[in-house]
């Protein structure tokens, strides 16, 4: 196997020259260890993601949803992975790779803290020092995740520039890397960034789809009709889709439709994060991909009720697969995502991450009792439950409170 640097015209390596040697070194390590299992790297990775991470995760029939949507709905339970999201697949893979490469230090950016906590856990597990960059604003919004990173002995470095969110944290991490590339590995948190990150991150996550394929065939003797995953950067998405790209399953990538799809060009603000469905080609954070940008090419501020989807770019491979017509991009707005969050929690006893809830919002939109779309979904559908919702409880309660949702539980119990 050789390293994929581009996906059609997307991808590439648009980074400062100072990073290029590190990226070449990484490309080489990726090829040797990941693609060719040199020194048994992949064996060790598979062992650790099993014993430390908890793989395989189950494929569960969703009884109530199957009834509601009158088709077989299955849940891929990545929410049960250690740390509570698919993120660990990649974080553990990259930290282990850094160790094989002889790196002495790990850095990563984080927005909501999911990738940061996964990286901190992996670094603690593999005994490497770790520093996580996180916007000041995010730090104050995501206390529990900051606690978790600190408890795993990771430094958490506040980023005070700009709005103090993910975009700034990514830029700051790249700056650290530009300074320290020789001893440090930068663990990127999705299938974004310069090659070889998009392909490598996908490869660490592709175990998701491989398991689905095996688990589904054990029951049905054929692959699922449709596979659905939410998409921010797109790592859970490609991890879920990869095993099916060469087959016939319909692949749906569900983005955050936010509060509206209408961009405020003047303010530089997109009230959504649907770069795959509405964005245009451009270059961001090291790769050519689909972006939310204004007419001049400045990156728009994206928005979503779910911070893990709140990103103006998307993985170049997904952009390519959308152009090819292989992946169907779609999106679900904040309200529908919250309703889907409550539905899954109440009907299946699985409290999903808000990111994940978008995937279920799509199901409701195309197959629910009040569907407005005339897409006919196949008889069997697998939805990736990319993470659990524990991190989102306060946000969900707050956002639910602001709205008049059909199925919101009251939180009156606290009033006494």
């Amino acid at each position: 196997m050789s390293v994929e640097k581009k996906f059609g015209d997307y991808g590439g390596q648009y980074v400062p020259e100072a990073l290029m040697p590190a990226i070449e070194e990484l490309t080489d390590a990726y090829e040797r260890y990941v693609l060719n299992n040199e020194d048994g790297f992949m064996d060790e990775f598979r062992r650790r993601i099993r014993d430390f991470g908890g793989r395989p995760t189950p494929l569960e029939r969703a009884d109530q949803l199957s009834e509601r949507y009158d088709r077989e709905v299955y849940l891929k339970r990545e929410d049960l992975l250690h740390g509570g999201a698919h993120k660990l697949n990649n974080a553990l893979g990259q930290v282990l790779l850094a160790k094989y490469m002889g790196k002495e230090r790990i850095i990563a950016e984080t927005g909501a803290g999911q990738h940061g906590t996964a990286t901190a856990m992996a670094a603690a597990h593999l005994d490497l020092p770790c520093e996580i960059y996180m916007g000041r604003r995010d730090i104050n919004r995501q206390r529990p995740n900051v606690f978790r990173m600190r408890l795993n002995d990771a430094e958490v470095t506040p980023v005070d520039v700009g709005r103090g969110t993910l975009k700034e944290a990514i830029s700051e991490t790249m700056r650290d890397w530009a300074r320290t590339v020789e001893t440090t590995h930068y663990v990127i948190g999705s299938i974004v960034g310069p090659a070889p990150f998009p392909a490598m991150v996908r490869d660490f996550h592709s175990v998701i789809g491989e398991e689905i394929d095996r688990q589904f065939r054990e029951r049905f003797d054929e692959p699922p009709g449709a596979v659905v995953a939410c998409a921010g950067g797109g790592s859970n998405t490609m991890g879920t889709f990869d095993a099916f790209v060469d087959g016939d399953a319909e692949l749906y990538a569900v983005e955050a439709g936010g509060s509206s799809l209408t961009v405020d060009d003047e303010a530089g603000v997109a009230p959504h994060s649907a770069s795959l469905s509405t964005g245009e080609e451009g270059v961001l954070h090291g790769a050519r991909t689909k972006l939310l940008q204004d007419d001049h090419g400045q990156i728009l501020e994206s928005h979503s009720v779910s911070s893990g989807l709140d990103y103006a770019g998307v993985g170049p491979e997904l952009a390519h697969l959308v152009d090819e017509g292989r992946v169907v991009p779609t999106n679900v707005d904040d309200d529908a995502a919250l309703e889907a969050f409550h539905r899954l929690s109440q009907e299946e006893g699985v409290i999903p991450a808000l990111e994940t809830a978008h995937a279920f919002g799509f199901l409701e939109a195309v197959a629910g009792p009040e569907t407005t779309r005339d897409r006919e979904l196949p008889e069997t559908v697998v939805v990736n439950v990319s993470g659990r919702g524990d991190k989102d409880l306060e946000a969900v309660v707050e956002e639910t409170d602001k709205r008049d949702l059909e199925n919101a539980p009251s939180m009156e119990v606290f009033d006494g």
């Binding site: 980074v15 020259e17 530009a178 451009g282 090419g297 400045q298």
Partner: protein, 282 residues
């Protein structure tokens, strides 16, 4: 290496190449500041066209970018800014690839280069465009007679260096240290190392300007003494703009400070050329 000769001409004597973000903190003051640098002895000027995600910049220039964007800077206004400037040294546009790529209609990249040529820019530095991805921009530059400057990092070696040297024109931007832009008080030992390495390459006959962290005349002198053909100074100048803005100083006063700083740096560069060359291999 392209044969466009425009920028290379600025390095006939040890050159001082300042950087400012165009439109920082507003268009009018910024015009005055750039002209002050020219008066202070700049041999060429790098003008930043601000991008919303300046991944190669340190905090100083990041903040400048934010100020300029908040002031309404756009690519088109940037070109108008260049047209409005009254200076007679070559001007280089420093920006990120997405802005070049998105500009205008039709074949990407070409409209931006064409317009740049029209307003009299002499070349580009694009920190997030590695040589491997640069063929389209290189071709457009050739078509319109502009230079394309590349940055060489302390870690750049072998094939990568060759790929850069093959595509560069104007000058090589030699990055003095790992990391991002920002003024520092020491000059890295790696500068000398890099210059030695470059000297050994086919890069011998293109001017080498050292940047990243230079903030004083003395540093400029050291760098030139170490073999550089010029110094690039950004954050130290942007600091002066930022300070003046924070203190609400009149633009004229800030411009005078910039001119004085420019003079110091230019003198340093010239003085460096008088120093004994470094002993081999240090």
């Amino acid at each position: 290496m392209s044969d466009a000769a425009g920028l290379a001409a600025a390095f006939e004597e040890p050159a001082f190449v300042p950087y400012l973000a165009a439109g920082d903190p507003d268009v009018e003051a910024s015009l005055e500041y750039v002209e002050a640098l020219a008066r202070g002895g700049a041999d060429a000027i790098e003008l930043g066209l601000p991008f919303s995600e300046p991944i190669a910049e340190g905090p100083t220039i990041q903040q400048a970018v934010v100020r300029s964007l908040e002031g309404g800077m756009t690519p088109e206004r940037f070109f108008e800014f260049v047209e409005a400037l009254d200076v007679d040294v070559p001007l280089v546009c420093m920006t990120y690839y997405n802005l070049i790529y998105q500009y205008g209609d039709g074949e990407p990249v070409v409209p931006f280069v064409e317009r740049a040529a029209e307003v009299g820019l002499e070349g580009f530095v694009v920190p997030d465009l590695p040589a491997e991805e640069a063929d389209r921009l290189r071709a457009a530059c050739d078509e319109f007679g502009l230079d394309l400057v590349f940055i060489v990092a302390p870690t750049t070696r072998g094939d990568r260096l060759a790929a850069i040297v093959e595509r560069v024109s104007g000058y090589l931007y030699v990055q003095a240290r790992l990391g991002v832009t920002g003024a520092r008080s020491d000059v890295s030992g790696r500068t000398a190392e890099s210059l030695d390495r470059l000297a050994e390459q086919a890069a011998a006959d293109i001017p080498k300007a050292v940047g990243f962290g230079i903030s004083s005349g003395e540093q400029a002198a050291e760098v030139v003494a170490a073999g550089a053909d010029g110094v690039i100074v950004g954050s130290a100048l942007v600091d002066i703009v930022a300070q003046g803005h924070a203190d609400d100083d009149p633009p004229g006063v800030v411009a005078d400070r910039l001119e004085a700083k420019a003079r110091e740096l230019k003198q340093g560069a010239l003085a460096g050329a008088q120093r004994p060359p470094r002993p081999e291999g240090t």
